[in-house]
Symmetry: C3
Subunit: 137 residues, 3 copies
């Protein structure tokens, strides 16, 4: 079994944030070491409070998206941030921010949700991710 | 060589369904164990008969998409479902449905194409995928 | 550490081309063997000169995209093709074109940027990618 799972969080849509959080939870429960590397639009989604208003749905199936968000609300499904925080509570899950994107967009660590622990460069991420599985979403 | 390949089928666009089927075929021919985990919109695309009407193209290049579908039809390329069924005939390829999405959207196993063999939870998928390659598409 | 990284370049948006180039650079600097397999719309983006006019942004966050491109230009960030060429200069990075897409769309090797070294089939790619990490973007 691979001990590490690295998730590149590139897109900031609610459905992919949910997928990332749910996969991270499953992996954490299996004692895997999970690193989420937030970059590009994934970083926007981690700005403080952004989760409250983020209703972005993957464009590929946007017509199903409204139905999807309604069902989630009707069934009172936990939001992705709660799911991710639970994963961090039960296992070894870290969220790191891409330094290059932070610089380009003038975002600072204190602008982000406190689940983000540090800012790292791409080289750091590639090295950390190099002996495990990678998912890009 | 990694013995397993896991494909998360998240998006239900025709081009990504084709990519999944073609990669699964190649891997099956190499004796790899392939699991396709259909979730979110990927599950919609597996509803019985949906393949006949599905003309969704990845939005990122939708302007090329119409041309792409026309070329496929003009050249009588096999559709993704045929390609996937062939892969299942020649090798060890399984298609599993995400239980969480099924519950949320009230989809039942009998609503899906018979290539889907079972409904599984995320934990099952993460565990099964944990010692091989993962592709998210 | 896994010695190989395979990147499936499916989407031809500028942001994903940047992500691919930057990840390839990081991996090349670590002495990894990197293969970029350009397919579907990723292949369009590699046609000669296409990089000069390509301003496609991932649709999922298109509203942030214009801001993103402006910032890149204002900060004179290197374009993805320059970044990829640098990665090829410092390490073992190859770009291969998907034969199936080339056939379907009647594209020839000489229509593509010279960074593309050869046309290969899916079976070749799956075999080459089978003992390392895969990222699909």
């Amino acid at each position: 079994m691979s001990e590490k799972l690295s998730i590149v969080l590139f897109s900031g849509t609610v459905d992919k944030l949910m997928a990332a959080s749910i996969i991270a939870s499953g992996a954490a429960a299996m004692q895997k070491e999970v690193t989420i590397f937030a970059t590009f639009y994934g970083l926007f989604a981690l700005r403080k409070g952004d989760w409250k208003q983020n209703r972005r749905i993957s464009k590929d199936c946007e017509d199903y998206g409204a139905q999807f968000l309604q069902v989630l609300e009707a069934k009172k499904a936990p939001n992705w941030l709660e799911t991710l925080q639970s994963a961090m509570d039960i296992g070894n899950v870290k969220v790191k921010a891409c330094g290059l994107t932070m610089d380009l967009l003038s975002i600072k660590l204190e602008d982000l949700e406190p689940i983000v622990s540090e800012i790292v460069g791409v080289a750091h991420f590639v090295e950390e991710a190099s002996d495990g599985q990678i998912i890009f979403l």
